[in-house]
């Protein structure tokens, strides 16, 4: 099985079937979409390396589709296959960023050749990107980071669905998500960097900024709130001299809030690293912090 996935956008007919079979028998994983809207929905939902599309399709017109697809995923490669080839069509398509412009009259083997060519180029580009990151990591003597990420990815698998778990593990070891690690994950999983960045910013557990040696999480769940969590948070902000979300200058503590740690019986609660401190009062805060150096 080749590592690349292809989407064919065209109305269902025998030719589409033949393209599908040819590409699949060469080891690609191939999916189909009947019209432009369906294609966009699919691209939104998962990630494809290459899109084969007719220009005259229902829904969204081909050239517009080209543009919309690239907005969704800038790294997507497109090949236009059309029943009515024209010079203007070819010029517009290539201007719009298509890799090739082919007529439907060509034999399927020719099409395959063209697909292989496009994806080979893509593979080389990815390889170059990977090498560039590795080189940079070596230069900044971050060999440890490199093998850490590899180790994590070997454990979690190279599936796009493992992305969140991979980032969680990196976050756990590094206490944040270094930029290079994100690039490396993106290249190894063959996912656009935008997608990796999207995940890293959507979920609260991730931080793109380095964190301190100890993470102080103030539970601001409802039970803690009615038992004075806001006052505890303010006492910590005063004591540490940083606001929630910040890290002390000596990098000893990062202060954050969490929506509920499910320890409501002991409200108000803070969690430092993995230790819970319950029934807290402002008076007790300094003693708790002193436990962590």
């Amino acid at each position: 099985m080749k590592d690349f996935s292809i989407l064919i956008v065209d109305e269902p007919d025998d030719l589409r079937e033949r393209y599908l079979r040819t590409l699949e028998s060469d080891g690609y994983s191939v999916e189909v979409a009947d019209d432009g809207n369906q294609a966009l929905a699919k691209i939104r939902g998962s990630s494809y390396d290459l899109v084969l599309t007719e220009l005259e399709i229902p829904g969204v017109e081909g050239l517009k589709l080209l543009k919309l697809m690239r907005n969704l995923d800038p790294e997507i490669t497109t090949i236009i296959v059309t029943a009515n080839p024209t010079v203007e069509g070819a010029v517009e398509s290539l201007k719009g960023g298509a890799f090739h412009y082919l007529s439907k009259s060509i034999p399927p083997e020719k099409l395959l050749e063209s697909v292989n060519q496009a994806l080979e180029k893509k593979r080389l580009r990815q390889r170059a990107e990977l090498l560039r990151i590795e080189k940079k990591m070596r230069a900044t003597s971050d060999l440890e980071g490199l093998s850490e990420v590899d180790e994590i990815m070997n454990r979690q698998g190279y599936e796009p669905s493992s992305l969140i778990a991979i980032l969680q593990d990196i976050q756990k070891q590094r206490r944040y998500l270094p930029q290079d690690a994100l690039r490396l994950v993106s290249a190894r999983l063959n996912l656009p960097l935008t997608r990796v960045y999207g995940i890293a910013t959507f979920y609260k557990a991730f931080s793109l900024k380095p964190r301190g040696r100890h993470l102080v999480n103030v539970c601001v769940g409802t039970a803690c709130h009615v038992r004075g969590a806001t006052k505890i948070l303010e006492a910590l902000e005063r004591g540490l001299g940083v606001e929630a979300g910040g890290t002390t200058l000596d990098e000893r503590f990062s202060l954050e809030t969490v929506r509920c740690v499910g320890c409501c019986g002991l409200a108000p609660v803070i969690v430092v690293d993995e230790n819970f401190h319950g029934k807290l009062t402002q008076e007790k805060v300094p003693a708790v912090l002193a436990e962590y150096t």
Binding site: I199, Y203, R259, G265, L266
Partner: protein
């Protein structure tokens, strides 16, 4: 199997662990072997006992003696007095109040006496990390019955008869949900999911069940998967729940070893495996379509339904998703029959429900009670009322999507329909008790700002409407409220409710609407009189030191972060309100009631040394 004279069950739920119950357990084992009792007494680490307020908890079986707040240094006396000499250790026993007689037996204590355990039946009773313990307590009895003696249709029929409804919040009939998914035959691949992304702040039943009895959840899932025709299951657990994650993962490992998961389970020809997924910390992922997106490794944004997950769920395949507590009920229903379960509860809400009873209540913890029980019974009989002689004001039910129920409705029987009628929802079962010191406008703002952060931003009514509501509420609590704000809030709330894409937005206005409905006077006091009746909103209060009551103990002087309190030892102190940041640290430590919180803008001028000064401020 070895027989012991006594089992000491040490609670190792998260609450007790944070009170160092593992140290207690270790020390117990040391002391027991010191006295040569290791063949007679077994120390068992259990999941959450439920009575978190009194942790760490040790229960001695078979006597059923309840020891509370056991610290490491209590252990030698406990072992010597109770285990060696057979004497009660009254110091560690529960009392209704100081000076009242000790209540030695767990089931005589009010907190436990009114409960009825089905989903939590094994809590505090078995070692959650031992599959043999679960099996010894009627575990994996339902599974062979379901796989060997029942057809999938019969199981679904049984669950339908039971009347079990989704415990995650919306209360959709579980049997019906299973049937939809079973009948969706668009492909042969189907998935089931256990939703353990317990997002509601103030609710921790899912965490507790996963920590105390993970196999019960697993057994329910295997039966459900067989009934629906799924071969792959997922347990989605919040990353903030490390202990729950560990225990469910361990349970899966053990079940695989015993052949209860994997290929050809119990020679039935049925295959099923389960994978654990860690959540990423986003409240909206509790919503089923968002949760599925998250399992697929994408941003957890909800999508419109239909298509429902039963038709098109995970990776476009039919998917059935139920909450942890729902799954935990399944095995018992299979063993005892749907008829048995349906006899508990009310006409439309059957069975029991687990509530987390927290906030301003004496006995905080996890309780399981039959549906239809009154709020009064939960809060006053089980919960032991409000601490420090304060007055009950309201109880918040259903998390950020729920509502506040006032004192007038405290005799309300708790079930799905009655709570909805009162403007709240059952939700996942968080009951947060509020007393006279809780400001209802602040509570509304709290929930709305919570939801503002958690809104995924996809649809405009939710993203912008909630933001506007938060701005208005912030103005009100900061003393900048104006006439018409309440009406604007109501308007906005109704639009957000009608026009939002998913449940998060559609229910987001509930806390605002219910607090306006039942506590309009508090809103008006904030807006018109710049007065917070609960004396909680900083902009409307001032701290004062009552010289006549001050003994000069200097505790407030030491905790004051800004040096606003001055004075010498044993002499009455002074409080400089210009330096005071109203953090309340002094009030927290003062044992002589010498710190008072007064309204900044009193309606009627108060006579006294500070009266004129405060009126000056009001004129600023």
């Amino acid at each position: 199997m070895k027989y012991y004279r006594t089992h000491l069950l040490v609670c190792t739920g998260t609450g007790c662990v944070s009170n160092k119950s593992f140290d207690v357990k270790r020390r117990l084992e040391e002391e027991i072997s010191k006295h040569g009792l290791e063949d007679e007494v077994l120390v068992v680490p259990t999941g959450c006992n439920g009575f978190c307020e009194r942790g760490p908890i040790v229960v001695a079986q078979p006597d059923g003696i309840f020891f509370q707040q056991v610290s490491e240094k209590d252990v030698p006396a406990l072992v010597e007095e109770y285990l060696l000499k057979g004497r009660p250790v009254e110091k560690l026993m529960y009392r209704l109040e100081e000076g009242a007689p000790a209540i030695p037996k767990m089931w005589d204590i009010d907190f436990f006496r009114h409960q009825q355990l089905i989903a939590l039946r094994n809590r505090g009773l078995i070692n959650p990390e031992s599959i043999d313990d679960y099996i010894a307590h009627e575990g994996y009895v339902a599974l062979p019955k379901a796989l060997g003696e029942m057809t999938p249709e019969e199981i679904i029929e049984e669950v339908k008869t039971s009347g079990l409804r989704g415990r995650g919040g919306a209360g959709f009939p579980t049997g019906l949900k299973w049937e939809f998914c079973r009948k969706a035959n668009s492909s042969d691949i189907k998935y089931i999911i256990c939703n353990g992304d317990e997002g509601d702040p103030g609710a921790f039943m899912d965490r507790s069940i996963l920590e105390a009895d993970p196999h019960a959840v697993l057994e329910g899932m295997i039966i459900g998967a067989y009934a629906i025709g799924a071969n792959q299951g997922f347990v989605y657990v919040r990353d903030e729940y490390p202990l729950a994650l560990r225990r469910i993962s361990l349970a899966i490992e053990h079940a695989e070893e015993y052949g209860l998961l994997g290929e050809n389970i119990l020679d039935s020809g049925f295959n099923f495996s389960v994978k654990v997924i860690r959540g990423g910390g986003a409240f909206v992922c509790g919503e089923e379509t968002a949760l599925m997106a998250s399992i697929e490794g994408r941003e957890g944004r909800p999508r419109p339904r239909p298509p429902f997950p039963a038709q098109k769920g995970l990776w476009g395949r039919p998917t059935n998703i139920n909450n942890v507590e729902t799954w935990a009920n399944v095995a018992q229903i299979v063993i005892r029959g749907g008829e048995w379960y349906s006899q508990i509860g009310t006409e439309k809400s059957k069975g029991t429900k687990v509530f987390s009873l927290v906030g301003k209540v004496n006995n905080t913890g996890l309780v399981e009670v039959p549906m239809g029980i009154s709020l009064r019974k939960i809060i006053f009989d089980i919960g032991g009322g409000i601490p420090n002689g304060k007055k009950f004001k309201a109880v918040q039910s259903g998390g950020p999507s729920g509502g506040c129920i006032p004192e007038e409705l405290i005799d309300l029987p708790v079930d799905y329909e009655e709570l909805t009628k009162a403007g709240a929802i059952m939700g996942s079962g968080g009951l947060i008790v509020m007393d006279e010191d809780t400001c209802m406008v602040d509570v509304a703002r709290y929930f709305v700002s919570f939801l503002e952060e958690e809104s995924c931003g996809k649809c405009t009514p939710c993203r912008e409407g909630i933001k506007r509501m938060r701005e208005i509420l912030t103005d009100i609590v900061e003393g900048n409220g104006k006439e018409g704000d309440i009406e604007t809030l109501e308007n906005l709330a109704n639009v957000v409710k009608e026009a939002s894409l998913c449940g998060l937005g559609a229910t987001a206005p509930n806390p605002v609407l219910t607090t306006i409905r039942y506590f309009r006077d508090e809103y008006e006091a904030h807006i018109r009189d710049k007065n917070c009746p609960a004396r909680a909103c900083k902009a409307m209060i001032v701290y004062q030191l009552i010289a006549e009551k001050c003994t000069g103990c200097q505790r407030c002087f030491r905790v004051c972060p800004t040096g606003a309190i001055s004075g010498v030892a044993l002499q009455p102190h002074r409080l400089d309100s210009d330096k005071c940041v109203k953090c309340g640290a002094c009030l927290e430590v003062c044992q002589f009631e010498a710190i008072a919180v007064e309204p900044l803008y009193p309606k009627v001028s108060v006579a006294g040394p500070y009266g004129s000064e405060r009126n000056d401020k009001a004129n600023d």
